[in-house]
Symmetry: C2
Subunit: 204 residues, 2 copies
């Protein structure tokens, strides 16, 4: 077994707004990290290009019906256990491009985490369409951000940053969401959140 990451490395939290299991992770990870004294960074990215490179034109939950049926029931159980509202979004998977571009503009802002949570809440607790600019404006307003960032998100530099972010995810071995990285160490799935937090804290 190789050495654990030193405590100085941040927990990088890779979420995709269309990803179902990213929802319960996003709603708690900032609080969980703070409770353990772990520094964290949101890494919003897109799974679509990574799935496409594997030959998938949509979510594996849409491609493989048994896996999809299981996931919805499993997510329902998780949301019940964690006290989260749940509504199955329609369409699924959501078109998450706009929400992701806005997230890059939010990076480093004190309301960044609140924006991420507001988008996931709108999508999975309220069943709203996150491809609708009004949904994103409402999420920005609720988080304390500027709703005009929706227009700024169309900027070429923002698009290029999101492409680079997604390419970085792929280069670092990420193939699903949520994922967690601590240096070169990768953890995949909401059920690995605790393990990733322990790793980032330098513990067992």
């Amino acid at each position: 077994m190789s050495a654990r990451g030193p405590a100085a490395l941040p927990l990088e939290v890779w979420v995709e707004f269309a990803s179902t299991y990213s929802y319960p992770t996003a709603m708690r990870v900032e609080a969980d990290a703070a409770a353990r004294g772990v520094r964290m960074r949101w890494r919003v990215f897109l799974l679509g290009p990574i799935f496409a490179a594997q030959g998938w034109n949509t979510s594996p939950f849409a491609l493989y019906p048994a896996k999809g049926r299981y996931m919805w029931r499993d997510l329902e159980r998780i949301c019940a256990a964690e006290g989260l509202g749940f509504r199955r979004p329609d369409p699924f998977p959501a078109r998450s491009l706009l929400a992701a571009r806005v997230a890059l503009l939010a990076e480093g802002a004190p309301w960044e985490g609140a924006y991420v949570r507001a988008v996931f809440h709108a999508e999975f607790a309220e069943g709203r369409d996150i491809a609708d600019p009004d949904t994103i404006r409402a999420a920005l307003a609720a988080a304390g951000g500027d709703p005009a960032l929706v227009e700024a998100a169309g900027d070429g530099a923002v698009k290029a940053r999101l492409r680079a972010r997604t390419a970085e995810a792929e280069a670092r071995g990420i193939f699903g969401a949520p994922s967690f990285t601590v240096g070169d160490e990768l953890f995949w799935g909401h059920d690995r959140l605790e393990t990733a937090l322990r790793w980032a804290a330098g513990g067992a």
Copy 2:
């Protein structure tokens, strides 16, 4: 959220001998179930026909390199955390047909669990080829079973039972291993073992 399964329902543990994450589950589930007073039943089955129905001709870990790389590292971490030996089996995935047929002949025997664990240990801790009849004979002997069951496993009735078992798995929505069922409730993955045990115990 629908009602939990009553405590009277057994925990059914679906394992496939070629499945990497079935290894840590198989090594502990019988003890964990006993500690919680949960009745359990081994349900050995084959994933190959289920994967084939999804258009896969081998393990998804072999088909999708990023997923495969992650799985080996993740399994290594899990085995270290659970105090299990680990050697990456070659070839992967193993040909598990003989081991599975013998498992059906072991069903209900007092040494059934010991046989299942002996096969997984030979494969993932010792790197032995479980398609070799001698490996299976050694596992039977170590478990307290009759090594001659290797010959009995070629019987047509045993082959038919394994086909029926695998068809039952598919009909019950199983698409990977390990899986756990408690009545109609399905849980997938080694990381769902605790949740499945709590469910079977009728608790939270």
